[in-house]
Symmetry: C2
Subunit: 562 residues, 2 copies
């Protein structure tokens, strides 16, 4: 039951809407779960939805994806429900996005029943002209309230949205994704500060001291919440944000970006951390196989409670690891690929069975809650992933052919199996880079495994050769990373455009007049274009490898953590 | 003064928002003029805005472009002004776009002061997944009412929006762009029909006849208007829509697509045709140099009047043609490039002067209207285009170097001059194709002129060779055309993706199991990718040549018409 002093907030993160939107089987998954989040918000009569970034999977979402998201928001979150909280901070600071003009619930021309507050993630972060995020677009039409964008990365000031509902005061801090290394350094160097503002005051002259005192009192009584979108797991010395960086005055942290659902709040250095995880599996890593939830957060005074709600639209995903050399029935079948396949077929069958069983249970649970509304909802094709350690003399085989047996029974028949081999370290410590090089050069390793271990840097060198007078190599690394991380298809072309423009300018700068010189210019440009070709071919390979790679990296992270 | 029986409609078309949005000088032009249209609608207190297609220049507009358009619409057209007309046709037929759910003025959650009604043009026509137009996106958030989309091109039924304001009845028919040849044939074959519906009736049983009679009466008293977006000028035997195709029951036709402003209604076969033209010059053709207007249309009963309003944000554009051999002072200067340049410098100066003069006059006119509000508005850099006929022994020279003199005085210094030569036809009729071939092979022609005359088909053959087992050549023509017409950067890649997918499927179809076969597959795919490279390189060249080409074609059209 909602009370006048209790904020009711639906929390969710990493909805990755648009993920695999062209896939015939899984194309609608991300949209369905996003819609479920909106419907849950309505059903639970929340004051607002708080998202932790990566609402969109692509930084430049397709027309289809934008249409769906905006249309669904308009369908479910517009309406007559009155807004029961006030915002008392300076909204022009909270929501600086052009055309936003304050929180959408206050727009007299829009009838918003449940507003969305969101930061950007690393997938939908600002790109392109005027450095816009897809969140800016949502904000411009009143579909969401975009906050937490930092414009000076050398001096990051996190300014809260101050909200009041009855006696409960909420200071909502947010910080959209910043490259982890950069934010890590900034934080360590003391360049990240949480502002504790005085609320809406225009006149700073005389009343300043009194107001400051009042504002201090307000803040002392407020529940302090922070939402961020960064690596929580250590990926390297500085490519994550250590939990202890987060200031102790915070009461609750909503952690976006990590896809594993760890939604039950975990106490940590005087505050609690809640990590809802993604609402759609964007990789077949073990962490994505955990049941996916959103949270119903209730805040009264300085206390909160969190009820987790399992998403019912999520496609079942079963994950397991197998070490072939430890399987009894394969003890003497090292060269016998057929026997291995038979065994793995049976594992897949078991996993499909397990998926069905859990689906049935889940439907049963839902029935209790919702009076058998969804009783007969049949299970969508499940995702199945088996990590197969084939070390010890076993042979890898074609996983696509293997998967054909399950084409109409599994959502991902082409990549059910993932072969890998444990490498002996010979007592010495090998870096990941060395290990990768080793796998790449190992003629007995499976081809997909070897391809997965090609290093980006090596490829760039190999494909582009050393003739990089047009495309600066150091910048290229950044661009390729962007391409991989964010599926930003324009990153390469816009980078090349810029580089070529730079080159053209330098060519134009010389004083040419004759037609001969003109043709020379054309030849030069053509040479540039040829280089672009080679780069584009490389970029395309990377894009194609993109999904595989991101999965691998997620797997690698799991490995590191295990 | 608005009366209760008078529809007041602001008409505009081909706003091409997003055109050259990356250009440092001209990047904001299309946005400014679009905003001016919205502001004029407000100032003149219209009932609605009617757009004739190509609101967007790109079929998949950038985030920036979408943000601006949606934000500007929200800023200027949302508000408390009550809607003074009724819609009495079946809105689910009028506006079938998902999430639209009827005209936006009736959405209880939106406060729309001036609705936009629009069809799609050839630039923002439906593409990609689920075949969506950017108009669908606008419709999904209530920023526009998208109508006139035909789903069966073999049986095109144009269903009107029936509106009533006081005693005035308006039947608004619309047809979004269809490929001209296709529509021409459909129309000729009688497959295009204008529906005269009975309005909102649910119960078709007994009252049918009576209602049909009433509806007939309604329609007989209605003002019939039709908006389309097609070639009006003959570009080939069937690649245009002859004016006489349009049914005589129509009172007024709003013709989109053609960029020349011919907004004063022209009587034609019993109806009037009004062609507002574009609000931004997307080519440097002569027709784009005409003053640009929108119209304030007033309809009372069966009568209408149209007041044209000159757009004040449009960048000045001066166009002229020069035949060097007819210039007195160059009579003996055929080999003297410097003399030609000096002469052309003076022509540019004259044109800049003329632009300033006209700007001053225009400002003066505005002052009269608006009490010197804009008095001191200084002229933006003008567009200047000189078509230079250098036949008769003159030499072309580097136009980029020529333009440097005007870098800070002209908006398009790189392409002020356009060289061409009149070809002698030797008494025989030459086709345009033959003429092009001639220019291409003429070693004395200027390089840009020769490049402009390369034929797409020839290039495709040349670059891809004959090894087209992966990329079907006939489909490729269509794709390239799409790329050129609509600047649809995804056309090529999505075409290639489909083709490669098709190939992969046929490869996967075979029953392969060994690792050897697997590597063979990889090699094949790599081969495919290499072919993609070559195609992409070609596509990029085309894109780069795109703007030049479209200008050329526009010029060619002007030539044909002259």
């Amino acid at each position: 039951m909602s009370s006048d002093n209790t904020f009711r907030i639906l929390i969710s993160t990493d909805n990755h809407v648009g993920y695999l939107e062209d896939d015939q089987i899984r194309g609608k998954d991300s949209f369905q779960s996003f819609e479920e989040v909106l419907i849950l918000a309505k059903q639970h009569n929340v004051d607002f939805i708080l998202l932790g970034g990566d609402l969109f999977h692509h930084s430049q979402p397709s027309l289809y994806c934008l249409r769906e998201v905006m249309g669904l928001i308009r369908q479910h979150l517009f309406g007559d429900k009155p807004c029961e909280f006030n915002i008392c901070s300076d909204q022009s600071i909270n929501f600086p996005s052009r055309f936003q003009q304050g929180c959408n619930v206050y727009d007299p021309n829009l009838n918003i029943s449940i507003p969305i507050f969101t930061i950007h993630g690393n997938h939908d972060d600002p790109v392109g002209q005027e450095n816009l995020s897809a969140m800016d677009l949502l904000a411009s039409v009143g579909c969401a309230n975009y906050f937490g964008r930092s414009h000076d990365l050398n001096d990051i000031k996190v300014y809260p949205i101050l909200m009041a509902k009855g006696d409960t005061k909420l200071a909502l801090y947010g910080l959209g994704n910043v490259r982890d290394e950069r934010l890590h350094h900034a934080w360590r160097d003391g360049s990240v500060s949480f502002i504790r503002p005085a609320g809406n005051r225009e006149n700073e002259e005389e009343e300043e001291e009194e107001e400051a005192q009042q504002s201090q009192e307000w803040l002392d009584n407020a529940f302090n919440m922070f939402v961020l979108h960064q690596n929580r797991v250590r990926h390297g010395p500085t490519s994550y944000i250590p939990e202890e960086f987060l200031d102790e005055f915070l009461d609750l942290v909503l952690w976006g970006h990590e896809h594993d659902c760890r939604i039950d709040p975990e106490p940590c250095h005087g505050k609690d951390i809640c990590q809802p995880g993604s609402s759609v599996a964007t990789s077949l890593a073990e962490g994505e196989a955990l049941p996916k939830h959103v949270g119903l957060l209730e805040i009264t005074g300085k206390e909160y409670s969190l009820q987790k709600i399992r998403l019912s639209t999520v496609r079942p995903f079963q994950f397991t690891s197998i070490q072939l050399s430890q399987v009894n029935e394969l003890r003497n079948a090292m060269g016998d690929t057929k026997a291995c396949q038979r065994y793995l077929y049976s594992v897949v069958e078991d996993l499909i069975g397990r998926a069905e069983e859990e689906w049935g249970q889940q439907q049963g649970d839902d029935d209790d809650d919702e009076q058998q509304q969804q009783q007969q909802k049949s299970m969508p094709l499940p995702l199945i992933r088996i990590r197969v350690d084939y070390s010890g003399g076993f042979e890898a085989f074609n996983v696509v052919v293997f998967g054909k047996k399950f084409v109409s029974r599994v959502a991902n028949p082409r990549d059910i199996l993932k072969f890998y081999r444990q490498r002996s370290t010979n007592g010495t410590t090998t870096t990941r880079r060395q290990r990768q090089q080793e796998v790449l050069n190992d003629p007995t390793a499976s081809i997909p495994e070897r391809l997965d271990n090609i290093r980006v840097e090596t490829l760039v060198d190999e494909i582009l050769g050393k003739n990089l007078e047009v495309l600066p190599e150091n910048e290229m690394q950044d661009v390729v990373q962007k391409l991989i991380d964010k599926d930003d298809k324009n990153a390469v072309s816009s980078f090349i455009k810029q580089s070529v423009l730079r080159m053209k300018r330098s060519v134009d700068g010389e004083n040419r007049t004759s037609i001969d010189d003109l043709s020379e210019q054309f030849v030069k440009r053509r040479a540039t274009e040829l280089k672009e070709d080679r780069f584009d071919s490389y970029a395309r390979e990377q894009t194609a490898r993109n999904s595989r790679r991101s999965r691998r990296e997620n797997d690698a992270v799991d490995e590191d953590n295990e």
